[in-house]
Structure formats: C-alpha cells, structure tokens
Symmetry: C3
Amino acid sequence: MELTARQIAGLLRGVVHGDPETRVNTFAKIEEASTGSLSFLANPKYEHYIYNTGASVVLVNAGFVPCRPVQATLVEVENAYSALATLMNHVEACRPCRQGISPMAFIAETAYVEKNAYVGAFAYIGEHSTIEADCKIYPYACIGDHVRIGEGTIVYPHVTVYDNCFVGASCMLHAGAVVGADGFGFAPEGDQYSKIPQTGNVVLEDNVEVGANTTIDRAVMGSTVIRRGVKLDNLIQIGHNVEIGEDTVMAAQTGVAGSVKIGRHCMFGGQVGISGHLRVADNVRIGAQSGILGDVRESGAAMMGSPSLCAKQYLRASVIFRRLPEMHQRLENLYQEIETLKQKMEEKDPCENRGH
Amino acid sequence: MELTARQIAGLLRGVVHGDPETRVNTFAKIEEASTGSLSFLANPKYEHYIYNTGASVVLVNAGFVPCRPVQATLVEVENAYSALATLMNHVEACRPCRQGISPMAFIAETAYVEKNAYVGAFAYIGEHSTIEADCKIYPYACIGDHVRIGEGTIVYPHVTVYDNCFVGASCMLHAGAVVGADGFGFAPEGDQYSKIPQTGNVVLEDNVEVGANTTIDRAVMGSTVIRRGVKLDNLIQIGHNVEIGEDTVMAAQTGVAGSVKIGRHCMFGGQVGISGHLRVADNVRIGAQSGILGDVRESGAAMMGSPSLCAKQYLRASVIFRRLPEMHQRLENLYQEIETLKQKMEEKDPCENRGH
Amino acid sequence: MELTARQIAGLLRGVVHGDPETRVNTFAKIEEASTGSLSFLANPKYEHYIYNTGASVVLVNAGFVPCRPVQATLVEVENAYSALATLMNHVEACRPCRQGISPMAFIAETAYVEKNAYVGAFAYIGEHSTIEADCKIYPYACIGDHVRIGEGTIVYPHVTVYDNCFVGASCMLHAGAVVGADGFGFAPEGDQYSKIPQTGNVVLEDNVEVGANTTIDRAVMGSTVIRRGVKLDNLIQIGHNVEIGEDTVMAAQTGVAGSVKIGRHCMFGGQVGISGHLRVADNVRIGAQSGILGDVRESGAAMMGSPSLCAKQYLRASVIFRRLPEMHQRLENLYQEIETLKQKMEEKDPCENRGH
C-alpha cells in the first residue's frame, strides 16, 4: 500500500484539504497513528485527537470544519467510516496476488486444479479432488481424496480437509483448521470402548469462514453441514452431524456437541457450550461462557449463564448471587427476630391468662 | 462402498425382501436418506419413516412386518442396529488402504520404518525413530527424534510428536494433535520468569485416540501418561505430568492442569477444567463446563458446576439459583411482615398494661 | 544425558557421598525414580522417600544427614532445588543442537536467513523475510512474507506466522501456534455479513512463549502486541488489537476478545474469558474459568467467577450457593412461622377485646 491524498480522494470521491501529495502506507487509529498513516474521524467524540494526531492523512465527514489548525492532510468524504472500509477493501484487493502452482506441491494424478488457482510449495491435493478457479491453496494445506474446493476459496497453511468433504465457493479456512476429522463416537463394550466408524463427511456451503485451529468433525453418516455465510472464530469445536444455519456467527472457543441443529442468523459469544442433540431456533443470541442444556425454541431468544437461562432472568439472578452472603445474613437475622417475637408472645401469654 | 442388497444380506446373514440387486453406496439416517443410501430401522418409534424413506435398502429387525407398502428393499437381520455397526466396520475396513512410502517423505537415516507402513508425501520421521508395522503416517505428520509409533497406529496430517515420546499400538492421532510440547513451567526471577526445562516425555499406551488439535504436554521430568483405551476428543489440553487411567473418555475442549492423576473409566463432559495436582478416582463422571478445584476421592462420583459440587447438590442449588430474585423478594417481604408484627405487638403492649 | 555423580558434583560444587562413578541418564521425582535416574530431596517432608528410592543419585541440601542407610549416591549441594534447575538447564543446553539449512526447505529468493540458523526439511520462509542468528525453524514452520524472526527464537513444527508479523528474540512458538490470522471482524449487511479486512499485524516482543495450537489474531489496523516476557500456554485465543503487558502469564484455553488491553505481570488461570475492549490493570490475578465482563482497574486485584467478582466476594457467595436449597427451605420455614405468629396474634386480639 502506497497512496497519496490525491489518489485517496479520487477513489473515494472526496476533497483534499492540505497537500494532495501527502503519502500514506498503512492504516492506523487516530490516537495511535504515526507519520505515513491514514486515519479517520467519524465520531465527533474523538475530534480532539485530530489536533495532534501523527497521521499523515485523515478521512473526515463532509462538512467537518476543524476549530483549530490541523497538521494532517484531510480528505473530506461523505461518510468517513464507510469510506475507510471501501479503502481497506481496495487496498486488500490490490495486494500482490499469490499465483501459480508450485512444483514443490504434491498434486495427485487424478486431481484437477484450475489453471489460475494458486497452489503453494508443500501443498497436497489428494486423489480425485478438484480445486476450482481462483482458489488459493497455501503451503501445507492438506486436501484429502475426493474433496471439492469451490471457486475463490482460500485455504491457509496447515489446514486439513479430510477425504470426501466439500467446501463451497468464497470460503476462507484459516491456518490449522481441521475439517472432517472423525466424530467422537464410541460404543461401550464391557469396560472398554469400540470405535463407531465415522462414514459421513463435512459440507461447508459458500461464504463460510473457519477460524484458526477450529475443528469440524465429519458425520457418523450423512453430513455435518455449515450453511452459507456462517462465520466461525478460532478454536471452535463442531461435533459430528451438527447443522448450523445461514449467517450464524460464533466467537472463539465455543463448542457444539454432536447432532445439534442451530438456526439462521444466531450470534454466539465465546466459550459457549451446547450439549448434544439440541435444537436452537433462528436469531438466537447466546452470551459468552453460557452452557446450553436444553432446546432453545423461541426465535430471537437471548440466553446467558451455565446452565443457561433467558438473559433477563440470568442477569437478575446473577445480581442477587453476589449478594448471597448478605442475604444469608439477613435470613439468619430474621430467624433471631422471630425467635425473639415468639418468646415475647409466650411471655405475654401467661399475663393474658392472668388477665382473664 | 458399493454393495447390493444381496451382498449385504450375505455379510449379515440376513434375508432380502425386494430386489436383491438394489445398490447402495452410502449410509444415511432413515429420515434423511436418498436413493443409493443404506439405512436402518431399529427403534419401532421410527417405523413411520420407512414408508416414505428415500433409502434404497433398509436393515430391519427380524420379524418386522410392514403394515403398508414399502418402496425400499428390506434386509431382515437379527438386530438391525448391531448389523449396521458390523456393516460400517466392514466398509471402513474395505476402504482403499493407503500404502507405500512416499519418495517425497523425509526419513532420517537412523530411522526405522516397517516395510508395510504407509508414509505419505511430506511426512517427516526423525533420527532413531521407529515406525512399526501397519502404521499410517499421513502427509505433514511430524515424528521427532527417538520416537516409537506402535503397530497399526494412524497419525493424521499435521500431527506433531516431539522428540522422545512413545505412542502405543492401534492408536489414532487426529490432525493437528500435538504430543510432547513443553509443559507450562516457569520460576519467578524478580518480576520476570525463567523457563524450567521440560526434560520428560509423553507416553500414550495402546488404543488411545487423540482428537484434532488436542495438546498433550511433556513432563517436566518422567512422563505424562495416557493409559490404554483413553479417548480424548478435539481441542483438549493435558498438562505436564498428568496421568489418565485406562478407558477414560473426555469430551472436547476440556483442560487438565499439570500433575493431575485421573482414574480409570471416567467420563468428562466438554469444557471441563481441572486444577493442578488433583486426584480423581475411578469411574467418576464430570458434567460439561465443570471446574474441579479439589480431589474427587469417591469412586463413581458424579460432579457438576464451577466450582464443582456433587451433581445432585449442584442441580438442587442450580434450580434455586434461577429463583434467587423471587427468593430475595420473599426475604424482603418477610422483613416487612416482621416489622409489622413487631409494631403490632408494641401497640398491644400498652393496651395490655392498661388491661392489668 | 549421561553423567556421573562426580561430574554432577563438579558442575554444582557439591560433595559426593557414595560411589562417584554412579551414572544417571534421566531426571525423576524421588518417589517415581528407577535405576539411572537423578533425583532430589529439597523438602524435608519427603525425606522418607530417600530410604527406598530407586534413584541412582539424589541431590540433597547441605547438612542433610540420613537417619538410616541410603542406597543412592548422594550429592550434597547448597540448595538441592536450585541445583536441580541448574543441572536441568545444563543438560538442556548440551542437547545436540539442530543445525544447518535443509535442502528440502523452501526459502524464497528474497528471504534472508543467518548462516548459523537451523531450517528443517519442509520449512517455508516467504519473500522478504528475515531469520536472525541462532534461530531454529523446525519442519513445517510456515513463515510468511515480510516477517522477521528475532535472534535465538525457536519456531516448532506446524507454526504459522502470517505475512508482515514480527517475532522478537529468544521467543519460543510451540507446534501448531498461529500468529497473525485474520481477526474476527464483520460488518452486518442486511441479514448477511461482509468481512472487514484485517490490515494490521502481530508483534511479539522478546522472550515471549506461545503454547501449542494457541492463536493470536492480526489487528484490524495497527498491531496486536504481546510484550516482552509474556508466557501463553496452549490453546489460547488472543483477539485482534489486543495488547498484553510485560511478564503476564496465561494458562491454557483462555480467550481474550478483541481490543482488550492487559497490564504487566498479571496471572490468568485456565479457561478464562475476557470480553472485548476491556482494560485490565497490572498485577491482576484471575481465577480459572472466570468471565471478565468489565474493566479491572485496581492494580493487584484478584478476580474469580463468571461473571467475575473480587475473589473474596466470589468465594463467600460461592460457599452460600451450595447451601441455597437449605437456605430456601429456611426461608419457607420462616414464612410458616410468621403465618403461625400472625394467626396467634389474631386469635389473641379477640380475647384482648373481650378482656377490655
């Protein structure tokens, strides 16, 4: 990345205030920026930073007028935040594109790799597998036999895709992700366990992102299915025969046990756990570290806690939890008070009897 | 896999009802099956599915008589569920066996690899290491120096076995598992930490399964020991000098801190945490997301919660937890009632005095 | 390792009691030691083990006099525990050093590798990257483009360092660690999500240790920064734009969400979770499985629980938690008692009226 303020204004249809030849080569937050950085000011709350930012160029909203002198060159755009996103995407798209099929890769004779795909050194493409157009298969990506990797998908280093799995188009599999290892299935045989063969596979639909070192197990039979647009963060565990609905996102270290069916457009916080065979409706939100032990049937429900409750109920209970010692003390006090009252009444009783 | 109903009946000593030439090439659940699938009906509760299943062949229990016409070819066997398991194992065993030692593998001069082992492209076998008969060492499996991999063990892609570790026979190490990285040991030195060398190793006995991206640390001295038949799911952390007893199974994302000793035949749910240096007896069951902070001495104990309690006690407390706000309100009400009572009594007192 | 008691005494300035030619080839705990082991007795509490240990040589504190015959050769040193550490470091330093640059490695033409570095078979060094002196780059270590690996740093197998990341001197990255994968950033676009390019990088300062399969995400802009001396255990997740202060240590499976700033010299237990954008002061201690949902501003604070409380408060509440059913019962009893009291008072009222 190497852009002048003039070029930036051209790309974003903005207006330059200051030296149009000012150059930037990186993005930075306005409060952390140094020379050569491009920054942005979208929220007026942060305006004070613009007067001594180290950034060379700052994107500002249309109509922004500094109330003091500014050293940085400003580029005035309609919306500074969305202009930034546009620019980041532009820069990303301009990055030198990895290309070519390395002679140091292993590509099975029966595999088919589209000519414009990138296959890095030490990548492995197994028998009867297909790598579609515009794929990037990085070094050490291990694509098993009978696998299909859809158009434009990026497979980063050390990803393993086991035999017979399908990955859709425009997916991104980050380093160390494992797609299709055996599900955890054993049948007791006396005191020991015998392995139940995991004969199914994993299907990732289009636009799925799988985080670094995340593991998605193959089905015992049929498929573990991750639907279009699902985003999985790092170190997540997805058990065998799980199905995750479209556009559901999960934060890091969440674990989903076998045969769970999750709806569309859900949001899971980090370190959530879901027990096996449950159903979770659409648009459900689950707080970090929650433990889901039963079906969540209501679309749009918000759950928290382990074991999880409806979020409101959990938060109310949780507030009381911290006051438990005090509550316990109050309860003991009440016991005392009642004992005192009872004694008083008993003391009175004889009086009253005498009074009769 | 490509079998006819006739062949299936032959393998399972069953009887075909329908076209014996019907072909199947995959397993599927009866409610999800499509043409070419083999399914099964074991539980009468699911009988209704058989009348419109897409499966081409269905295994049914001896004596099953459909009450309506069935399109699928049926194979009647003594026990449909165990017949299915038999068949899955048969199919698994028939899968084309990976064989041969790839010229693209790196095998140290002092390493010994049995001739019938499979060593994939880009596999690495370090100095003085031994790969026994029938092992399968997949691409990118990294076997350090002075390592022994026992007969019939499968090491999937991207597994790392550090120097001096031993893996028994018939084990399965899934992609990305790390066996023998340094334990987490540091000695404070002023405000900083100096590393305590981790001089021990890891020993996996026979029939151990290690899940994808699971990590088992080497001992500071001596061995971290995983005994015969232990099954570890994905993304589990086993600290240095831990010992896990025979046939214990642990679900995904569980963490066991250093020097913990766990008994035989325990079952751990997912995301369990166990603090360092604890002892867990045999046959102990620990619920998902539990946090074990003290020894579990009673064989067969069931534990839940964080910090964990005996399961019954935890469940009782947990039920009350959600009613805390209501309980808190009741407590406040009682305070009011008692105040009222006290006032009433005080009001009466003068009357009574007057009465005397 | 192969040392005689005489050599050990020489290295540690100790005195041999017994046969100075006794040989050891491994370290072991005194209660687990067998022939050929070197052990130590630092804590008098364990003295009884020395009388029947299998160890061949035992380090003992100056002045230790056995009260019964001892079979092992003793080496008397000033402080047995620190002498052991010295010896372990000595043995570690003597291990045959991996050297040389494998012809089976891939090193980009524009990369620079110091001559005395080790680069194993199947290692990958990308364009414009620098490997400084005394580095060890193991097989399958994947160093992207424009990366710098500082002097003496060890990168174990299957580590991925993405493009543009910096790793300081004397760091250790264990197998499967991922440095610089994309942060988890998406902008809603209707019901779907569009990816926010993650244009920043990761900076590891000197003396950082990163555990096996731990993941550290690159910043959306700027850097995710792990400062000097930080020790991260296995399977930890560090989100984008996180900053971790010097000498902070974190146990396994902890997760830190994006943009969190953590102070110096903190200690985190295992499986801790920290929500995004929080600040944690210096010297903070966080108990295992805690969930931090708000800033921890007080230096030296101790936190526990999910949601976390100050440790003392949490422990007090937690003790009451397990007594909730009993407390609930007591509350119900009180209700009864008060009802009884109220009835009694009402019964009395008429009497009193009559008494008037």
